[in-house]
């Protein structure tokens, strides 16, 4: 019988009425001692049944505990780690700059900075990125938004990157492209334009990103 079903409520309410009627009818029966006993038992039964009935009605209205299992409250917390991270110690793909300590933390996924720059600057960007803590950096010279999207899609195969936490750092020529990408992608955390050198812009972007984390538990 369902915990929130009408039949159980009708049953409890019916039994409450029976208990109340029985209480009244047996109130003055028997000798003095017997009377105290039957009255107490009948009253306690009626009290419990009334409380249970009210509780069932309220539980049905608010769906606190929709099933008996919920009421019993499976005390053990069934939190499973889905897609449990087998330590991933693959080497990062070519052109990907990983932070210090990357190889020593095979369980951890890193946030990403994607840098849009002129091809002549790629090496300079990579050099600056090597100074950054706790972030994976890739630099490219995109002609279209698709170039960036394709790189982002490929990223999980190139390095241990987090599902969330991605920043774009762009030079002035690519700024409009970066804004278009940001508008289309709600998962993008931030866009930083490099005005005063790559080092400062990369550090600013890294500060706005999450820390590297172990794969979360799922309910």
């Amino acid at each position: 019988m369902s915990l929130t079903g009408i039949p159980l409520i009708v049953l409890a309410a019916g039994l409450s009425v029976v208990a109340l009627v029985a209480t009244v009818r047996t109130w003055s029966r028997g000798g003095r001692r017997r009377r105290v006993f039957t009255r107490t038992v009948a009253l306690v039964c009626a009290e419990v049944l009334v409380v249970v009935t009210v509780g069932l009605i309220e539980n049905r209205n608010q769906t606190f505990y929709p099933s008996w299992g919920d009421l019993a409250g499976d005390r053990t917390e069934k939190v499973a780690v889905v897609s449990s991270p087998a330590p991933d110690d693959r080497r990062p793909g070519a052109g990907v700059v990983v932070p210090a300590g990357y190889a020593e933390r095979p369980q951890v996924s890193f946030p990403v900075i994607v840098v849009l720059c002129r091809s002549a600057e790629v090496e300079e960007v990579r050099a600056a990125a090597r100074q950054l803590p706790d972030v994976v950096t890739v630099a490219l010279t995109p002609r279209t938004a698709t170039d960036v999207d394709q790189l982002v899609d490929r990223l999980p195969r190139l390095a241990r990157v987090a599902a969330h936490g991605r920043a774009l750092v762009t030079d002035r020529p690519h700024r409009d492209l970066a804004q278009r990408l940001a508008t289309a992608d709600p998962a993008l955390t931030t866009v930083v334009t490099a005005e005063h050198g790559w080092g400062a812009a990369l550090a600013e972007a890294a500060d706005r990103l999450p820390a590297p984390l172990v794969t979360p538990v799922r309910p």
């Binding site: 107490t40 009253l43 769906t63 969330h164 936490g165 992608d185 709600p186 538990v217």
Partner: protein
């Protein structure tokens, strides 16, 4: 004996039994007045025992003194919470609400890293935690065991070291504010979004920028988290709702429960902000299920929604204990990291 111990309920049950026995015994020896008094005693004892048991589930009144003390001068929230080895510590502070005019008690969880040499000169991300109604910060701390969840998630590296705030959401325990500024009433939205942030930035080593601030709550606290994040994207980057509805369960006074304080209305009619929402619910809890599904269905970029529907669990502390760690992990993955930065006063 604490107000929410099983022994208190057992004592109440014993008192009901005694009162019932007295009614049965003295019925033939007393007149109408005596009988009435005894019958009333039974009813009062029964009601009080039920109230104690309901309070055990909600922890709206965390202590006996809370029956008379309002949340402005709440007792220590950390009483009975032992610090675990390698875990964080829990403080109780009073937040003077300069903007809202409210002054309320708040719990503060400082992660172990906050006190470590490596974290001594860093500013940390922040999560504000909202309780349901009826409820109190103690519901999270005692019934949902939040400190253990935070300790273990941070120790496992699934959460970054984070300062976690547990503010009261109402100046009167039986007044449901739904974290809004009630017309002609307390301004809890202002308290939670402005005063709590000002206090935290001044007194704790926390980041001040929105990228590092997140919200979480269960039941009406889940509504609070979604509503405040959407209303104040300049202050919060992410919010998690556990069994939250898409609308407040109260009348605010200006009709805004149908419009700007209604998450579903806001998503239908206003441009969405760039924040991330985690929306979790149990499919057998019809009210929060329908509200949460509305939020997920109506969300448009740049609003970013992660939806988690569990097949069962109802609307109960058992469910929220199960949902807490995944939600905190998700939040931490959406909040900016700790950064080097000066000391707090």
């Amino acid at each position: 004996m604490t107000i929410d111990s099983p022994a208190t309920v057992a004592l109440g049950a014993a008192a009901v039994l005694l009162a019932t026995l007295a009614l049965a015994f003295f019925w033939d020896r007393r007149g109408v007045f005596g009988r009435t008094v005894l019958a009333a005693l039974v009813v009062v004892m029964l009601a009080a025992t039920c109230a104690v048991q309901i309070n055990r589930l909600t922890v709206a009144y965390p202590s006996w003194s809370a029956l008379v003390d309002e949340p402005a001068r709440g007792a220590s929230l950390s009483a009975g919470v032992a610090r675990r080895p390698g875990g964080g510590r829990l403080l109780t502070v009073t937040v003077p609400g300069r903007a809202s005019g409210l002054t309320l008690t708040m719990g503060v969880y400082l992660p172990a890293a906050y006190d470590s040499p490596a974290g001594a000169n860093r500013r940390f991300p922040v999560i504000e935690v909202f309780h349901g109604f009826p409820g109190s910060p103690s519901t999270w701390i005692r019934r949902l065991d939040v400190v253990r969840h935070l300790d273990s998630e941070m120790a496992a590296g699934r959460m970054a070291p984070t300062v976690v705030l547990f503010p009261y959401q109402t100046p009167r325990r039986m007044l449901d504010t739904e974290c809004t500024d009630l017309v002609g009433g307390p301004r809890t939205e202002t308290f939670l979004t402005t005063d709590v942030a000002a206090y935290a930035v001044q007194h704790l080593r926390v980041r001040a920028d929105a990228a590092a601030w997140g919200l979480i709550g269960y039941s009406s606290g889940g509504f609070c988290a979604m509503n405040l994040a959407l209303r104040h994207p300049e202050r919060y980057a992410a919010a998690a709702s556990l069994s939250g509805d898409s609308r407040p369960a109260i009348t605010i006074g200006d009709g805004s429960e149908h419009t700007t304080n209604n998450v579903a209305w806001r998503l239908r009619h206003l441009p969405p902000p760039r924040v991330a929402l985690y929306v979790a619910w149990a499919a057998d809890d019809t009210e929060s299920r329908d509200g949460s599904r509305d939020v997920v269905r109506l969300a448009r970029p740049p609003l970013n929604v992660t939806a988690v529907e569990l097949p069962r669990g109802g609307h109960s502390p058992t469910l929220w204990r199960r949902m807490a760690s995944p939600a905190f992990d998700w939040l931490s993955g959406h909040l900016a990291r700790s950064i080097p930065g000066g000391s707090a006063s």
